[in-house]
């Protein structure tokens, strides 16, 4: 009897890979934040029971292969055009849940117009913005969100505000628009922030499911390779360097 009880306890699964996460090995580097956000999205899609109506749009950048890792319909978009592709998909099939997954160069440089106008139209989509303060996939170039003084491949002496301007705060920018219903900045650099991120993503998806309109979740995310840091240092860099410039708060929740 004693033995049987013990076996039962051992069999109890306390954590497992979510069924919507594929078995495929990620191409992401050690310490990258994408994998965490993928997992949160997969869990939420599962919890909401929307796996059979979700379309995930992957951006140009490290996130482009996201469609291999989360087992829902996937769509590619040209660099910066994710919100436009999302608009087309959602307008044709409003019953689908459309997730626009984007990076900082994609969302705030080449796709700034698409970002602002999709938000301004109040498209009923959920935008997940991974802000890692540089272009990861192309090898670590300066992004619109690179911090002043941040050294990248294309700002080898540190970002100069005089030459490159100041980093753009996406949430604050979008918060000047009337239409968005939800705008929040979170991070994946601590357990507390990961829990906040999941809550924000949950709200963003719930808004879409309830046809409430445009939701925007910015996630400060580690890029140890691009930053030239060990993963633990990268976590600290977010807290010490990024968070002071990019406050982790909710900007709108209507």
């Amino acid at each position: 009897m004693q033995l049987n009880t013990r076996e039962k306890v051992l069999e109890k699964i306390v954590f497992a890979r979510n069924a919507l996460l594929s078995e495929k090995a990620h191409h992401y580097c050690a310490g990258c934040g994408h994998g965490i956000v993928h997992r949160l999205l997969a869990e939420l899609i599962d919890e909401f029971g929307i796996a059979q109506k979700t379309v995930l749009i992957a951006p140009v950048g490290c996130g482009v292969l996201a469609y291999f890792y989360i087992k829902v319909d996937g769509c590619e978009a040209a660099h910066g055009r994710v919100p436009a592709v999302a608009t087309g998909l959602k307008r044709v099939n409003p019953e689908n849940i459309v997730i626009a997954y984007q990076g900082d160069g994609d969302l705030l440089a080449i796709g700034t117009a698409e970002t602002i106008h999709a938000a301004n139209r109040g498209e009923n989509i959920t935008v997940v913005f991974i802000n890692n303060a540089l272009y990861g996939m192309t090898g670590g170039q300066m992004a619109p969100t690179s911090l002043v003084g941040q050294k990248t491949k294309t700002s080898p002496y540190g970002r100069s505000a005089a030459e490159a301007g100041y980093p753009i705060r996406a949430c604050e920018l979008l918060n000047s628009l009337e239409a968005p219903v939800f705008i929040e900045r979170t991070g994946v650099h601590s357990v507390k922030q990961i829990i906040r991120t999941k809550k924000a993503l949950k709200k963003g998806l719930a808004n879409q499911i309830e046809n409430r309109g445009y939701s925007f979740i910015e996630v400060l995310s580690m890029c140890p390779t691009g930053w030239g840091m060990k993963p633990v240092k990268a976590v600290e860099w977010i807290e010490n360097q990024m968070v002071p410039y990019y406050p982790l708060e909710n900007f709108r929740d209507r």
């Binding site: 929307i50 319909d73 055009r81 436009a84 998909l89 307008r91 044709v92 099939n93 117009a113 106008h117």
Partner: protein, 351 residues
């Protein structure tokens, strides 16, 4: 017989698209095609469709990408400078094998150019325009009636081959009004259920993409499949028209609005005792090379007339392959060649 209506080219095009089942239009204002989005903005809400004025041509073509991936019949229209911007999305759609109809009501170029009709975008439409090895099906109507008819055909061709089909008109064709009988839908239906994105309900998830990085789904495999498809289009979809060409000694070749001038030139020359005829490619890609070579055989001279510096003339020369001398007459910058200039040129050959 159906009732004749009197419509502007751009509006007949839009109504024909609605007849063909198009319920989604994404566009950005540019002259001389502004009647197209205006007509859709008025009509689509009446038929349960969606008109959306995009923030740019880039956004418009990528909304088309999304709508097509979702399985819709979808159109965008623009004019030359705007079509240059749409090339990005067109290349991505070719790579992802998404169907759509793109309209270019050409205006004078390069640059901002002018707002008068032109044929300066032949190369862009037919030879590529965007990056990578891909083709568009390019239809060149020469009347408001044909503009409407070819619009219905364009949607079928796009769906049949999962390609972007371009209607290459010009500012004159879009702006002029003519009587026409509105077309009827072809009735052909296309099963898109094995590739559209609508949520993986009771099926495995799928991806619409053009990125090919791994050996298992090597890009070359996609390229080879695309080329095979393009070859089938060349075999099946080449269209052209001949007018008084059988007994002609002099063959004129023109597409779109230029061919209307050439028809008048044929009449004028025939009235003056010169045996002239016309060959008109209706599909610019696939180019009707075989038909043209057969038609041009034995003629004394071929004269290509275009509203550009000489673009299609290169394909005409390739088609006749030196069997007949090929000459060119053109005007640029949105100017129309005069019929008298054309007939004088032909009469000079005769003399």
């Amino acid at each position: 017989m159906s009732k004749k209506v009197f419509m502007k080219g751009n509006e007949a095009l839009a109504e024909a698209a609605i007849i063909a089942g198009c319920r989604y239009f994404f566009g950005y204002p540019i002259t001389p095609q502004n009647e197209v989005p205006a007509y859709f903005a008025m009509r689509l809400p009446q038929v349960g469709g969606t008109f959306l004025q995009a923030e740019s041509e880039l956004a418009a073509i990528n909304m088309v990408f999304g709508a097509s991936a979702a399985g819709a019949r979808v159109m965008t229209s623009s004019s030359s400078p705007g079509i240059s911007l749409k090339q990005e999305g067109i290349s991505y759609m070719a790579g992802a094998e998404l169907p759509a109809v793109v309209v270019n009501m050409m205006r004078g170029g390069p640059g901002l150019g002018s707002i008068a009709g032109s044929q300066g975008d032949y190369f862009q439409a037919v030879k590529g325009g965007g990056h990578g090895d891909y083709r568009l099906i390019v239809l060149a109507p020469n009347s408001v009636q044909e503009l409407a008819d070819l619009t219905v055909l364009a949607f079928d061709l796009a769906d049949r081959y999962r390609m972007v089909c371009m209607i290459l008109g010009d500012g004159f064709l879009g702006q002029m009004s003519e009587p026409l009988v509105l077309p009827t839908p072809s009735g052909e239906s296309f099963d898109k259920s094995d590739w559209v994105l609508d949520g993986a309900k009771d099926r495995a998830p799928r991806i619409v993409r053009s990125l090919r990085l791994t050996p298992e789904d090597a890009l070359e495999k996609l390229n080879l499949r695309l080329q095979e498809k393009y070859h089938a289009v060349e075999q099946n979809e080449t269209r052209s028209e001949e007018y008084m060409a059988d007994d002609a000694e002099y063959l004129m070749v023109g597409f779109g609005i230029s061919s209307r001038l050439l028809k008048a030139a044929v009449h004028s020359l025939r009235a003056q005792g010169v045996k002239a005829g016309l060959f008109r490619p209706v599909t610019l890609w696939p180019f009707p090379s075989k038909q043209l070579a057969a038609c041009a055989a034995g003629k004394r001279r071929v004269l290509v007339v275009e509203m550009n510096a000489g673009q299609m003339v290169e394909d005409v020369r390739l088609a006749v392959n030196g069997s007949v001398p090929v000459d060119f007459l053109g005007r640029m910058a949105g100017m129309l060649p005069e019929i008298k200039t054309i007939t004088e040129r032909i009469k000079n050959y005769a003399a």
